[in-house]
Amino acid sequence: MARLLVRRLGLMLLIMLVVGFILFIVNEGDPRKVARGVLGPYAQEQQLDIWIQENGYDRPIPVRFLDWVGGVATGDLGESVQYKRPVNEFFWERLGNTGILAGLTFLIMVPLALLLGVLAGMKEGSLQDRTISVASIITTSIPEFASAVILTTVFVIQLKWLPGTSSMAAGWDWMQMILPVTVLVLYGFGYIARMTRASMAEVMTTHYIRTAVLKGLPYKRVILKHALRNALIAPFTVIMLQLNWLLSGVVVTEYAFAYKGFGTLLLEAALRRDIFVIEACGLAAVFVAVLSQTLGDIGYTFLNPRIRFS
């Protein structure tokens, strides 16, 4: 177990380093481009040269990269070109906002998906199964940007029940969270539900479930003690990967509702070539993704004794 932990953490660190290097090369590989980005389009060639020298961009790439890694490791994320202040000052608040959005989504989506998936997979081919399956296919087919438009048309424009943007301009407002969370849950839950259903349906046809039934156990116990744990092993990894997908959805959803989170920050930065913000956003996204993968692997091992004890 400890061995696996060390290996996974090592791999995680390695991936972060590789990703960091790619981000670094793409954004800061060419010192001239960096200087141009910071000083703006009207700066002159000499000014660029001076800036490059002053900021140490004339050093070879490996040295600069090590320096950069050191900076990131000690929490120095550089200064935003666009806002003219350290990235640290506003980055964490944006990330926190996204955390709230993603957390709320997860909290609603996962239990809902697991419950529906188990209910559908318990009796494969039944009406209950077909209804849940078709419903989840339909909701996963509506991308976030489409459901944002459709829900806005219905609940904001026609019914006028909900606010159409979530910029929180006048302070925190829970009403403004309803639409973004709904959009993310609608798109995301179907996939987990369908994986859970498939896994549950497969488990229900296994011989050990037959053994449990023919042992004379009540149906409820067969489901709860024998089927559920085995059926949840596969969806568990999916849920962890879903975190990665959720981050993609978050970018679109935040943009759709003008929510001040990490996604909108990344988009603005990307459009304005605000390299240090881009790097910070990229690293944060990859960190979350890799962390969730690692947790998924460890959890999988924990749930599955066949791997745990080999």
Binding site: L11, I15, V18, V19, L23, V26, N27, S133, V134, I137, I138, T140, S141, I142, P143, E144, F145, A146, S147, V149, I150, T152, T153, V156, I157, Q158, G164, N244, W245, L247, S248, G249, V251, V252, Y255, A256, G263, L266, L267, A270, L271, R273, I278, C281, G282, A285, V286, V288, A289, V290, Q293
Partner: protein, 301 residues
């Protein structure tokens, strides 16, 4: 092969090799068993027909000015019927949707196809050779898969600029590792079969074994996955358009149509972004239902 041995007199109908046409008919007949899959097949077929015959089916050119902000079912100054209304610049939304179909179907197919070629080759190599080939390819796949897809797209497209080629490249880059993982898993499984050992013991080359002996037997799950992936790619292309990172105008793009008009929607012009959103959802639904139906049918055999 096809020269049936007449002297035997024992060639029954089931003995003759089946042509591509017969097999296609066969799969459609099979799909009849799954009503859900059939609905999906019909939806996808409609969209593909629309894409191919877009110029014939669209009542107007996508840039023709007719009547700004016309509501659905209204009539233009010269008697033009505007089924789904018109946008801010007076263009027929229905016609723009039809041309948009062409664009999204073309790029989604092309990008998925390219991603599959890359993913299949990588997956076959990783699963068949194993060892260091597998370790290197799997690590690469892990690195790419650890980027959230949309973040990856934003980074790629903002650093090399938006164009059709960029979108295809970005989709290949982001999807190939996932396809590779599936192919690798199937390869690891199929490689243990005796017929692979039989091919090895008669001295076939590794790539012959992978492409001729192995790949055809992995086609079932791959076709299902390809359908799903067409759906994802459609969503991706739409989302990029929505974020303003899609294909440059004036050629209509569903995501772009939504993005351009969604602020207007707040003012009551709801139909402008609504119909493109509906179109995207229907196309993706078609792919997903088709995939589900195909999976169901293949499991029954």
């Amino acid at each position: 092969m096809s020269q049936a041995n007449a002297t035997d007199g024992t060639v029954s109908a089931s003995d003759r090799p089946k042509g591509l046409f017969e097999r296609t008919i066969g799969s459609i007949v099979l799909l009849k068993e799954s009503p859900v899959g059939l609905v999906g097949a019909v939806l996808v077929t409609i969209f593909f027909i629309v894409a191919i015959f877009a110029p014939l089916l669209a009542p107007h050119h996508y840039e023709t000015f007719i009547m700004p902000m016309a509501a659905p079912l209204s009539t233009g100054p010269n008697g033009e019927f505007l089924l789904l209304g018109a946008d801010l610049r007076g263009r027929d939304i229905f016609s723009r949707l039809i041309y948009g179909t062409q664009r999204v179907v073309f790029y989604a197919s092309l990008a998925t196809f390219c991603a599959y070629i890359v993913g299949i080759l990588m997956g076959l190599a990783a699963g068949y050779f194993r060892g260091w080939v597998d370790e290197v390819l799997s690590f690469l796949a892990n690195v790419i898969l650890s980027f959230p897809v949309m973040v990856l797209f934003v980074l790629i497209i903002t650093s090399i600029g938006a164009s059709g080629a960029t979108i295809v490249f970005a989709v290949v880059f982001a999807s190939a590792p996932g396809i590779m993982r599936i192919v690798r898993g199937l390869t690891l499984d199929i490689a243990t079969r005796d017929y692979i050992a039989a091919a090895q013991t008669r001295g076939e080359s590794p790539w012959y074994i992978m492409l001729v002996e192995l790949l055809p037997n992995a086609r079932g799950p791959l076709i299902v996955d390809a359908c799903l992936r067409m759906g994802y790619t459609t969503i991706t292309i739409g989302a990029l358009g929505f974020l303003g990172l899609g294909l440059p105008p004036p050629f209509p793009d569903w995501g772009g149509m939504i993005n351009e008009t969604r602020t207007l929607a707040m003012g009551g012009f709801w139909w402008m972004p609504f119909f493109p959103a509906l179109a995207v959802s229907l196309l993706v639904l078609g792919f997903n239902l088709l995939a589900d139906g195909l999976r169901e049918v293949s499991l029954r055999d």
